[in-house]
């Protein structure tokens, strides 16, 4: 799906928010020998480079997709460098600030294939949750995180019944893809309490 596209936030916040996704191409390389082994290798590379969130290891072994979230450009660079060197032949997509990814591509001598741009939200926008709540909920690409759960955890934090870290962890739970940036969520929650 459009997955990690349409993550909301200001440019400065998005500097700390990258999603890397690996995907098998149906009928091209998904049935190839060693395809699964290579997906697991990708999962390991992602895991070894400080992701703030990552799809479960169980999913690496069954899913056509592996994704992980990073909070800085250097870790993303290291993942891409290792993936290029490993030369596994599996498609890799990076979501983040366009200019930052282009810079990385130049440094690592990558020939970018294609881009999926976001034109944003349209239609009856009065139905949307407030912008700062959407910055949190839009980090789950399938929109499994409810706006009222964000409000619920804000109240618990204000009453000192839960820590910021625990609240971000709880909010991330419905996002099975591992693309919810818990560190960024903590920063947004700080502004909201």
């Amino acid at each position: 799906m459009t997955h990690s596209l349409h993550r909301l936030g200001q440019k400065d916040d998005l500097k700390n928010d990258y999603v890397i996704l690996a995907m098998l191409a149906a009928n091209f390389n998904d049935k190839a020998p060693n395809a699964r082994k290579k997906m697991v290798k990708i999962g390991e590379i992602m895991k070894n480079n400080n992701p703030v969130n990552i799809m479960t290891e169980k999913a690496w072994r069954i899913s056509s997709v592996i994704s992980a979230t990073f909070d800085n450009k250097m870790d993303v660079k290291n993942v891409l460098k290792e993936l290029k060197e490993a030369d596994l032949g599996i498609s890799i997509v990076v979501e983040g600030l366009i200019n930052e990814i282009k810079d990385l591509a130049n440094e690592l001598e990558l020939n970018l294939d294609s881009v999926h741009l976001s034109l944003g939200n349209f239609g009856k926008k009065e139905l949307l949750a407030p912008e700062n709540i959407l910055e949190i909920t839009s980090m789950c690409g399938h929109h499994c995180i409810s706006p009222q759960s964000v409000q619920y955890y804000i109240e618990l934090i204000q009453k000192e019944k839960i820590s910021l870290e625990k609240a971000a962890e709880k909010l991330a739970k419905p996002c099975v893809c591992g693309i919810f940036n818990t560190k960024r969520a903590i920063e947004i929650l700080k502004q909201l309490i």
Binding site: M1, T2, H3, L5, H6, R7, L8, K11, M23, A25, A26, F28, N29, A32, P33, N34, A35, K38, S64, V65, D87, G89, I90, S91, I92, V93, V94, E95, L97, I98, I101, N106, L110, L112, D113, S114, V115, H116, L117, S118, L119, G120, F122, G123, K124, L128, A129, L134, T137, S138, H142, H143, I145, S146, P147, Q148, S149, P174, V176, C177
Partner: protein, 238 residues
Amino acid sequence: MKIIEERCIGCGNCVIICPVQAIELVDNKAVIDKDICVECSVCYRNANCPTNAIKPSRLKWPRVVRNPFSDVISIHKLTGIPGRGTEEMKTNDITNRFKDGEIGFSIEIGRPGVGTFLKNVNYFTEQLTPLGVEYEEKSPVTALLKEDKLEIKEEIEDERVLSAIIEFKVPIEKVKQVLKIIKSVEVKIDTVYTVGVISKFKGGNEIPIKNVLKSEGFELRANAKINIGLGRKLIEDT
């Protein structure tokens, strides 16, 4: 989804977690509004119901169509992948689905977090189909269009889903017409939609469609998804 009333203790966990606000407490019991529920299973998997009162329903046609458009774990028969969409540009370095001079669109109705009736697809398809757009064959939405591709099949038009993605491509010359259609639906539709535009990079990692979008008054977000070109058609056994 259903709540077993005699088990429910009214803790409200499911009310908080429901992404489409379909659950409320009535006389201290959780009640699901079946018209609003999109069968996403988020409450079942994540509410931590202390009495296991939330149970999946055995869905019948046409209601069953709600699940693959809403449940992240559900794998659609056509796409073979989890989620509501297709591989789109994510594997384009291998599939070459979007070629030079072609522009892809993803119009996701109901996103972010509002939901939609499937009939809202018609606002777009009734204008896009006469334009001659090439719909993505593997898209679940394409599979549910009538034969003339002008409208969604009648028996499912009142089904509500978390989001439905119309995926198609056009030659770059038709982009302006598509953008006009996207704008025209804003005043008719009763929900929200997001729009994504897919383009191949040109030499020097340039994005050829950028200026067209800007000249038509569309504001580009600073972040995007980029296929970095590491995929290959075959993976040799090593």
